[in-house]
């Protein structure tokens, strides 16, 4: 692919670190939209198309999506060192903040209003995760084999609480078989 684009060939290590540091700090309730804004709109390190490709690969691989994306982007511009600095920048501030929060929470854990607020956040956040599942299910809802695989995974992991390793070892090959057999 050699489409004309204004994206740079090189981004310095320092720029990678600082860029992802800002993403980590701004990412309330999900980091991806902020990463897209920084990478595509503000700094123009990637085109929209390149960002989508990095994202789809990051989502397909195991591990936190945004961490995978930062590794891939860091590598693209600065090789191994970039692939280390970008995720470090991304995680540094959130890690510090969440540990400070946890320390503060421990000090006020006996205050009923604080515990209540925590329960309220958990309840709302559970709804966020459910909504994410519903959104992701929409594109596959018309394909019978995909709905079947998704349902079996849900029952096995969510209801039966079977160990994840065995569920994946058993079902990923079956799913691959269907995807290959039913390919267009």
């Amino acid at each position: 692919m050699s489409e004309p684009s204004s994206t740079p060939q090189r981004v310095t290590n320092a720029a990678l670190f600082v860029g992802f540091l800002k993403v980590g700090l701004s990412g309330f309730g999900g980091v991806l939209p902020f990463a897209r804004r920084m990478l595509v709109e503000q700094r123009r390190w990637l085109t929209e198309q390149e960002f989508t490709e990095v994202l789809s690969l990051s989502q397909f691989l195991p591990g936190p999506n945004i961490v995978n994306a930062s590794v891939i982007i860091g590598r693209r511009f600065q090789g191994p060192l970039g692939a280390i600095l970008a995720p470090l920048g991304l995680m540094l501030m959130p890690l510090v903040i969440v540990l400070l929060l946890a320390t503060a929470f421990a000090a006020f854990a006996e205050v009923e209003a604080v515990r209540g607020a925590c329960r309220g956040i958990s309840a709302a956040a559970s709804g966020l995760v459910l909504a994410m599942a519903v959104r992701m299910a929409q594109p596959i809802s018309r394909t019978t084999w995909q709905v079947t695989i998704g349902s079996i995974v849900f029952v096995a992991v969510g209801l039966a609480r079977l160990p994840l390793v065995w569920v994946l070892v058993a079902l990923v090959p079956v799913s691959l078989g269907f995807a290959w057999w039913r390919r267009e």
């Binding site: 929470f105 925590c118 966020l128 995760v129 994946l168």
Partner: protein, 175 residues
């Protein structure tokens, strides 16, 4: 001298790293199973509180991992757990990224993507279910979960407002 607790943390999350297809949210049931059920690192209520704190902080969902590590072995635990959770998957991403670009339109690549989507959907749905069962113990709590679900699907409200609404209702003693 590396403490057994740190080693245990590292082992648990090194494995989870490679199983987390769809990100950290996809392995919440497995984290809960290991941290509360098998290892007895914390109670249900503590797991629930950590989930809340990780959501209230800026940054990716994977932050809950650092809180589990922190609970087990302090700051060192937080760093070890986070490193273990991100390490193997990052190495894989580093290694695969190059090859992946060259097979942009290969049928096998497209088949792998189509195969993993339903697995991810099933895992995230299981996470939502397990979180709801772990976090919600009263009908107002279930109502907040349900209202948040509906609000996300039908409005364009930023998720932070929904979390804030949950926090306020909780602090007022509703939940």
């Amino acid at each position: 001298m590396i403490s057994p607790a740190l080693l245990d943390l590292a082992l648990q999350f090194l494995v989870l790293s490679l199983l987390s297809i769809g990100g950290a949210n996809a392995v919440i049931p497995e984290m809960h199973l290991r941290a509360v059920g098998i290892e007895h690192w914390m109670t249900d209520a503590e797991f629930s509180q950590m989930f809340a704190l990780s959501q209230a902080a800026p940054g990716p969902n994977v932050l809950i991992v650092s809180l589990i590590g922190w609970k087990v072995a302090g700051i060192a635990g937080a760093l070890v757990a986070m490193g273990a959770m991100c390490g193997p998957s990052s190495l894989l991403a580093y290694w695969v990224a190059h090859a992946w670009d060259r097979f942009r339109d290969a049928p096998l690549r497209i088949a792998i993507q189509r195969a993993l989507v339903p697995v991810t959907v099933g895992l995230i749905l299981a996470s939502g279910y397990v979180l709801t069962r772990t976090n919600d113990h009263t009908w107002p709590a279930y109502a907040i979960t349900g209202a948040t679900l509906v609000a996300v699907l039908t409005t364009r409200l930023h998720p932070l407002w929904l979390l804030a609404a949950g926090a306020v209702l909780g602090a007022l003693g509703v939940v």
